[in-house]
Amino acid sequence: MRDDLTHLPASTPNDIRALVERAGLDLPEELLQQFIAAWPQYEEMVRRIPRGFDYAEEPAHVFRPTRIAGETD
């Protein structure tokens, strides 16, 4: 069974406004309204991401210090 966040309620326009402010963005009202209309499909997308990975499952980003050290050779 998938372990995701689709059960959470959708953010309200006021929630979105608050999240944008918390991100430190100061959008003109017209642009904010455009984004309030655009965000719900992104929120649904993010909530569909499965979460039930094993502790050992690494993300696709891999830190390779030998490669970075090689840049300075």
Binding site: V20, Q34, M45
Partner: protein, 463 residues
Amino acid sequence: MDIPFLTIAELGRAYERRDLSPVEVTRALLDRIAAHDGKLHSFIRVTEGVALAEAQAAERELMAGERRGPMHGIPYGLKDIVETAGIPTTGHSKLRQDHVPTEDAEIVRRLKAGGGVLMGKLATWEFALGGPSFDLPWPPARNPWDRDRLPGGSSSGPGAAVTAGFVPAAIGTDTGGSIRGPAAFCGIAGLKPTYGRVSRRGVFPNTFTMDHIGPMTRSAEDISLMLQVIAGFDPTDPGSEDCPVPDYRAALDGGIKGLRLGLVEGWHEGAGAHPDLGPAIAEAVSVLRGLGATVEPVRLSSLRDYTDCKTTISSVELYAIHERDLRTRPRDFGRILRNRVLPGALIRAEDYLAALRWRTALAREQAAVFQRVDALITAGARTIADRADPDQPDRLVSAPSITMPFSVSGVPALAIPCGFSRAEGMPLSLQIAAGTMQEATVLRIAHAYQQATDWHRRHPVLS
């Protein structure tokens, strides 16, 4: 000879026989661009002076018997997120409309060293993501098969310019399908190589972990010739892979008898897919079987899953790239780009990491399949090219993408034409993908298919 539609391979042979010269070809293409691009908008900037100087240099060298490689004297265009020293590189955006780089991107350096002839900088969706947009300093490119339609994106200019016979080759970039989509909608060939096969240095980033640079041409053979020049390790690109570069042209020969192909079930049919696509893919499979390949059904995760994974990762990385401009000059973004970048500000770190862990799982799923098949077959696009409608809703998230699965896994994937829709007369496309660094396999299958079909030899008539 019909110069505008000669391939790289045909031009190379014509140069060897001295039937044509690079200057003659360059002038013919510049004239064609001047006559027709006013209606197609595939170029942001035509670099006529550079093109003629490089063509003259190539001509002198070829006449002296010096041959630098398959791109020597071959005109090409660059998507305008590829940096060119001394030539504006705008990203098709107001944000960078006056940006003049001081250095060439690594691929430009390689194309110059290979004797290529730069014809100009080509239209893109804003910074290879925001489009199709009608509120930018330059209009969106149009589809040469039907100017009321778009060429797809984000490599819209490369798709339109190659299709229109303005250049035989162009460089596109592909994060979620931006080479393969325009190739599919325009009826040309477009390759997204393996992540790390072609250097990203000097190309404006979209999504650090998924950006690919690749060729767009009119045949698989031409893809092999251009890839030969641009592929290879670049220590200045942190994602670059230090793997040997095979002889891609030589790998085309030998046919596909005995190759095992997997036809992905459920991706190219069903809701949202063009009704002519299923029969066109079935016919392509029949051709490939006739050439000696075996084709078996394969099941992978849904396009919805791949699209969600890719777009979540992209949104966050995009925001990291554009945050400063969003804070200081949000009105200078096109509406579509702004609304595609802003979600990254609201996606939490744990969501991003979950998507990255999911990416590993999805890439493993494909790697397991590539243990039992040599390549996967699906469509290059699920629809035909969209109409040019400024009011069309944004479908980046809502419409599952058939190109994103191979963006997520980073494997090579090529789109080539496989028919035309009956009602609209617009191109349909086949997509071929193989395991990491298996570009030669993808190209061999596509070349065999194109030796048996002529879809890639059909060209629009420009009026």
